[in-house]
């Protein structure tokens, strides 16, 4: 096999690594439900459990990208269902600004995906994760932030 072909194969076989911040009260349980119900979803995500989507500091997202994660997923309760009443509404405003700011900086906004998943929506969780993984996979490895030293 030539080096070129090997390289191509490597790119083809490349799987993205995605960090997922899941709200303890809904999405984390939603992911659990997807697992218990034996719904298949890509194994690319690594879950971080947070108390609320409002706990996700925009810094976490940017830091994840600079640390080499290919994508970030943030999932919380549907608007109005927040365990802390307004956490996800505040978070939504933050995410809206962040996403547009990332685009302005020339960082693919597709790497950062936000979603609402309730504890009863195992199927929806699987579908959305599949979708997010597909988007990130198309974007390819996250190379913009490689630290030189």
């Amino acid at each position: 096999m030539t080096i070129q072909a090997e390289k191509e194969k490597k790119i083809k076989e490349w799987e993205p690594k995605i960090i997922a911040f899941l709200c303890n009260w809904c999405s984390y349980a939603g992911a659990d439900l997807a697992g218990v119900s034996r719904i298949q979803y890509p194994p690319n995500i690594r879950v971080v459990r947070v108390p609320c989507s409002g706990r996700v500091n925009p810094y976490f997202i940017i830091k994840s990208l600079t640390d080499g994660w290919d994508g970030v997923v943030i999932s919380g309760c549907h608007p109005g269902d927040c365990h802390y009443l307004t956490g996800n509404l505040v978070a939504r405003r933050r995410f809206a600004i962040l996403k547009e700011l990332l685009e302005f900086f020339g960082i693919d906004p597709g790497r950062v995906n936000f979603m609402w998943v309730s504890a009863a929506e195992g199927e929806r969780f699987a579908v959305l994760i599949r979708k997010a993984t597909k988007i990130v996979k198309e974007l390819g490895p996250n190379k913009k932030f490689e630290k030189k030293w």
Partner: protein, 339 residues
């Protein structure tokens, strides 16, 4: 009327008002601008006695945002008995906006502040002029008609005023502090109540139409010289946290290097913190030792909150900043959906 005579008149009025206020004991100190020690600069000054009033100046190099000196992070002026002093602050448009916004964030003790509002016709982009002059020594800076005159050893140069003011001043719509019911002020020139600014952000269109790759290239080249001295943070009236996120070291929030990834984090997160709060004074760009012009990011933030939440910071004490509030009916077109 030329810019020079306008400035001279403002300066004269300024000194008169300052003298009166100090004489009538309405304020204990005046916070203003004085002649700088370096060329193309001015220094902030605190005036307590009437005989010092003539040190006050006003010209197109007064780039500092004086509102910074009134936020709690900076040690406040006290009398020998330890009481707070009453301060008169000389405010151009963006200082007025900063004061109003700081009031919204409950950072000011309004009883002790008196605003002396002046109308500003733009601040000179000193970094750009410095870059064009290079290493040569500057002796004198003056404005005549529509030109900025720079005199130095063996050279004399003319810069067009309209061209060589800050990018933010070119699109500025708040030349003098907006009138606000909660702030007490004296005005030189006109002042009016403002609810919103009509702005089409046409200066951003060119950049926004670029491809992501071109944008990244531009941002990379723009921010790469950053040495992370945090002068932009120190000059910013809205950066008043007791402990900035970049200074936290338990745990170390992020790397201290000047590698591009760390620089991008700093500027992105700082931009996030200033969304809906930045008053577009341009102080950050004016103090940058590397001459990085952050006006694009500033403008983008202004545009974002304007379009999404119909809010412009620092116009009125009654409006709540968008990032301090929430609404069930916010747009969520950016959320991932099943189909």
């Amino acid at each position: 009327m030329g810019i020079e005579s306008e400035n001279k008149e403002i300066e004269k009025n300024l000194r008169d008002i300052a003298r009166n206020l100090l004489q009538e004991k309405k304020v204990d100190a005046i916070l203003g601008y004085s002649k700088g020690t370096a060329p193309l600069s001015t220094s902030p000054i605190i005036i307590r006695h009437i005989d010092e009033v003539n040190k006050l100046i006003w010209n197109n190099l007064c780039y500092m945002n004086l509102a910074k000196y009134l936020v709690p992070r900076i040690p406040q002026l006290k009398s020998p008995k330890g009481e707070d002093l009453k301060i008169g602050i000389i405010a151009k448009g963006c200082v007025g906006r900063a004061l109003i916004h700081l009031n919204v964030e409950k950072q000011l003790n309004l009883d002790n502040i008196k605003i002396i509002g002046i109308s500003c016709n733009g601040i000179v982009n000193r970094k750009r002029i410095e870059r064009e002059i290079g290493e040569k020594e500057i002796f004198e800076v003056s404005t005549s008609e529509n030109n900025i005159m720079i005199k130095g050893k063996d050279f004399e140069k003319k810069f067009s005023f309209d061209e060589y003011i800050n990018e933010l001043c070119k699109v500025c719509k708040v030349k003098s502090p907006p009138k606000d019911s909660e702030l007490e002020d004296i005005f030189i020139g006109e002042s009016r109540e403002m609810k919103s600014i009509d702005d089409d952000f046409s200066d951003l269109k060119e950049f926004e139409s670029k491809s992501p790759e071109e944008k990244w290239q531009y941002i990379k080249e723009l921010l790469e010289p950053c040495i992370r001295c945090y002068a932009c943070r120190e000059a910013c009236p809205m950066c008043y946290c007791n402990l900035c996120f970049v200074d936290q070291n338990k745990p170390i929030w992020f790397g201290k290097t000047t590698d591009l990834s760390d620089i991008i984090i700093f500027h992105l997160v700082r931009a996030m913190h200033l969304a809906g709060r930045c008053v577009a004074c341009g102080a950050c760009s004016s103090v940058c030792p590397m001459g990085i012009d952050l006006n694009m990011i500033t403008r983008k933030l202004e545009k974002l909150v304007k379009e999404r939440f119909n809010f412009t910071s620092g116009l009125n004490s009654k409006f709540l900043p968008p990032m301090m509030a929430y609404n069930m009916e916010d747009d969520e077109e950016f959320m991932l959906e099943e189909n």
